[in-house]
């Protein structure tokens, strides 16, 4: 745990500087900036985004990222091992931009929905699954264009910009989703 301390200290500093979190009803975000801060780190985009959507760090708390980055050899049954230097750089980025530090309203909701658990799956975050629990399986799991709820960008057409707004949702094989 002592190895993680510098990152936690750094993250705390960044968190203080990131300003207030604006809360708002779901569905529109433009007045308050993106739902979560977009990925602006080329190393992260390249290393993590080559196999899957480069999930924004603001989608999980820092403890979750630390846990996840500690088990890359068995990354959801895949081997995602990285050399030590790359791994450390990515941990620094993830912690500095984790939900606690991203300063966006969806990150705040994600944090508030969590109890003591430290999920490593974004889809295990209560706020995230509650947002999706009305969508029938035929549109997600058994939809060949998606396969899983993990595939954010398949429906959230502007997910890469950090927008998860309802107006940007287009479900393959179905079209617009309205809550």
């Amino acid at each position: 745990m002592s190895k993680l301390m510098p990152f936690l200290a750094l993250a705390a500093t960044v968190g203080l500087a990131s300003g207030s979190v604006t809360a708002d009803d779901d569905g529109s975000y433009s007045r308050h900036g993106p739902d979560v801060a977009p990925v602006e780190n080329a190393l992260y985009q390249d290393e993590c985004g080559s196999c899957h959507f480069a999930y924004q760090p603001g989608l999980l708390p820092m403890e979750s990222w630390l846990k996840l980055m500690g088990s890359l050899e068995d990354h959801f049954s895949e081997n995602a091992a990285l050399d030590g230097a790359t791994r450390q750089q990515l941990i620094g980025y993830l912690v500095a931009n984790a939900a606690e530090n991203s300063g966006t309203r969806r990150s705040a909701k994600i944090l508030r929905s969590l109890g003591k658990e430290i999920p490593i799956r974004i889809t295990d975050v209560p706020y995230i699954w509650r947002q999706h629990d009305e969508i029938p399986p035929r549109l997600i799991r058994t939809n060949a264009a998606l396969r899983s709820l993990s595939n954010c960008a398949a429906c959230h057409t502007r997910a890469e910009t950090g927008s998860y707004a309802e107006r940007d949702i287009l479900i393959p094989g179905m079209g617009r989703w309205e809550d």
Binding site: S50, C51, H52, F53, F76, S77, E78, N79, A80, A81, L82, D83, R147, S150, N151
Partner: protein, 134 residues
């Protein structure tokens, strides 16, 4: 000294765009040789590329084509996430096999995913000898 300069320019012109590619693979092959492996055989690499491997944690055999398709010049698809994978063949994707760090990272991940173990220096040399010709 002037001749030296000319020679260097000539060398870089001669090898042009291919120089980066050759360098990373050649450097890797030399490194495997230093570990006692070699000579390397592209045909053996091809045979391993097309082989199927029983993996203790998988319900069906895995192979390179599981993600990369059986044509190295085609785009592939990540077996789990479905994310597109750019072609492996350097002839259609010039970014391939240009960085030792990337080569070793993907050998590390994919030998374990496919075969359930690390590749030996000999196997890596055979794979690279095959892949660089594609």
């Amino acid at each position: 000294m002037r001749n030296m300069g000319k020679l260097m320019i000539l060398t870089s012109l001669t090898f042009g765009g291919g120089a980066v590619l050759a360098d990373a693979v050649d450097e890797r092959l030399a490194s495997y040789q230093a570990e006692g492996a070699g000579p390397f055989d592209a045909a053996q690499g091809e045979s391993m590329w097309n082989g199927s491997y029983v993996h203790a944690k998988a319900d069906k055999p895995r192979n390179c084509a599981s993600c990369h398709t059986d044509n190295l010049k085609s785009s592939g698809q990540h077996a789990r996430t479905g994310k597109a994978i750019e072609p492996m063949a350097p002839s259609v994707n010039t970014k391939r096999l240009t960085e030792a760090r990337e080569i070793e990272k993907w050998f590390g991940r994919n030998c374990k995913w496919t075969m359930g173990r690390e590749c030996t220096a000999q196997e890596k040399g055979d794979f690279l000898s095959y892949m660089r010709l594609q």
